[in-house]
Assembly symmetry: C2
Homo-oligomer: 333 residues x 2
């Protein structure tokens, strides 16, 4: 019998997530039944979409249950198996508990190999990067010479989105939450410009300066006032890949949408919301497109690794305030 | 030499269009030069999109020029031609002045025949119907059993949109501005339900009642508060064909968009603005699809015919307040 250390949802947040929303507990895991396997977590991915799941708002994924472990994309190692598809020692990726160990039925798990750093399966070869690829390739469709805007330009998704737009020949402008991120975006990720959304308060003015021809495609991660300014500057036939709205997740009073919705007609905009899990059939295409860009450094990535499950709540709270730099993962030892 | 009676834009409206925005004048038309033709107008189409063109707001079509005739989709008869493609007596459709006669260079004109009532070329066989067909076929894509909402359900565009959705097997709910229109929508156009948006003030409640499964596709003509209520009730993978926003055209203070834009992501909505003139290459497909529905009465249409050019301004002001019933055309004698 194995004990698992796990983090459960102790209460639902109202507004900002606070430490008392989480509780760490140790539980004795039951013996495996046929079909089950026991997985020891190695890396846990922390992602903004988890915030809406902490409340009971109608969302694309069911809310986390109170008193139950939170879950997240994770890489782990099979330590015991009564499932014929997996053997002890297999490395797998899938949804696991925020926990040292998870009992799993094997559904939705995929084997990975140790040829690349395991955390990459949660970032540049995983869901965030796949999200960036889908939104860029299937919605934004940037063409050479167009201007693409990426909010949260250095986040796990944004950093890949921006680089894919650049590789397509577009001019890429982004914003991020501190100067270091902006410098990295331009020097390393090849953005044409990146502004600090915490110090630039007149979003319209800075966008007018950096995107004088308007914005042909917007990869939207942030929402809120920033999105309103972007929306107003979309060009004719502009595309908006609506991926997230992190600035709104912790709002307790809902923000209205942008003014002049008729602009959608005047400018023939396409606004498309998407969730990458609807498109898993394209995972192979994504890997074929993106994996070859990594060894040569054509596609760069940043990650922040937090050491220890106990630090996951604090790291997640920081993520929602933009304190991470690149993909945020928790190393579980 | 021919005199033309024409209506020019005397001043730009602020808020509601008023009678003093128009001025009727008689001008002596110049002699035709090579390539030109003289057309006598028979029917002039009045459409909501003309309102944005009266002001200088950035729009998909350039604004009408002050002191110059307004223009509109029209059917006319060639009375003189120095253009080799047209001869006296040809019936043509195209953009003509709000006028008894227009000197034209022939570009964008299309010949029509007198086999159907000429006003139909401005309605059920013309731009409004083509608009409905494009939005329904290429954006809303209704499937049997889905719920489709059409605002301005009996307008020139809406009446066709609703019927095409019904013919696709969808449940169709609409709204219109008086009881007679609602009765016509249900009895003649086959809407499952149509509510009066002037007497039903709680749009959310009436939509919840009439669309208990939510709205899978919205053909949006109205915008404003009504759109906000529709947006909130879209189902997962919902489609919004954004065609117009007549409720907002005369607003002097811009209305904010709907709250909870993150719903676009959660529900994977597609919102697409469109202008049918971008899709003229599909006109033949539209005619092939829609013309066969007319003789059998599978597709019905209503029109309001106003007699005399002098009445065009008043009729247009009424259109913006929803006083027409179906397609509004002016007969020019």
């Amino acid at each position: 019998m194995t004990d698992a250390i796990q983090i459960v949802l102790a209460k639902r947040p109202e507004g900002d997530v606070t430490a008392d929303c989480f509780r760490e507990e140790t539980v004795a895991l039951p013996a495996l039944t046929d079909g089950q396997l026991l997985i020891r977590s190695r890396f846990l991915s922390l992602d903004p979409y988890m915030r809406p799941r902490m409340t009971e708002m109608r969302s694309y994924t069911p809310p986390f249950a109170l008193g139950q472990p939170l879950t997240g994309g994770s890489v782990g190692e099979v330590v015991d198996s009564r499932n014929p598809k997996f053997v002890k020692g297999d490395l797998v990726i899938g949804m696991l508990n925020w926990a040292s160990h998870t009992v799993h039925d094997g559904k939705g798990l995929r084997k990975v190999d140790a040829g690349v750093p395991l955390s990459a399966y949660l970032g540049v070869l995983g869901m965030p990067s796949f999200t960036a690829w889908y939104g860029m390739k299937h919605i934004c469709k940037p063409k050479a010479g167009e201007t693409v805007f990426v909010s949260a330009a250095t986040g796990a998704v944004g950093q890949v989105a921006g680089q894919l737009a650049r590789l397509a020949g577009a001019k890429v402008v982004g914003c991020a939450g501190d100067e270091d991120k902006c410098v990295w975006a331009v020097r390393e990720a090849g953005y044409d410009a990146c502004f600090n959304h915490r110090t630039e308060r007149d979003y319209g003015a800075v966008l007018d300066k950096l995107c004088p021809q308007g914005i042909d495609a917007d990869f939207e991660n942030v929402g809120g006032r920033l999105f309103h300014a972007v929306f107003e500057r979309m060009t004719n036939f502009g595309r908006i890949a609506f991926c997230g709205a992190i600035s709104e997740y912790q709002d307790t009073t809902p923000l209205a949408g942008p003014e002049k919705m008729f602009g959608i007609v005047q400018k023939r905009l396409t606004i498309q919301g998407f969730i990458v899990s609807d498109h898993v059939a394209l995972m192979g295409d994504f890997i074929n497109d993106v994996a070859p860009l990594l060894p040569s450094g054509k596609l760069k990535s940043r990650e922040t690794v937090v050491d220890g499950l106990a630090k996951a709540p604090q790291a997640f709270m920081g993520l929602l305030k933009g304190e991470n730099f690149g993909k945020l993962v928790v190393k579980i030892s």
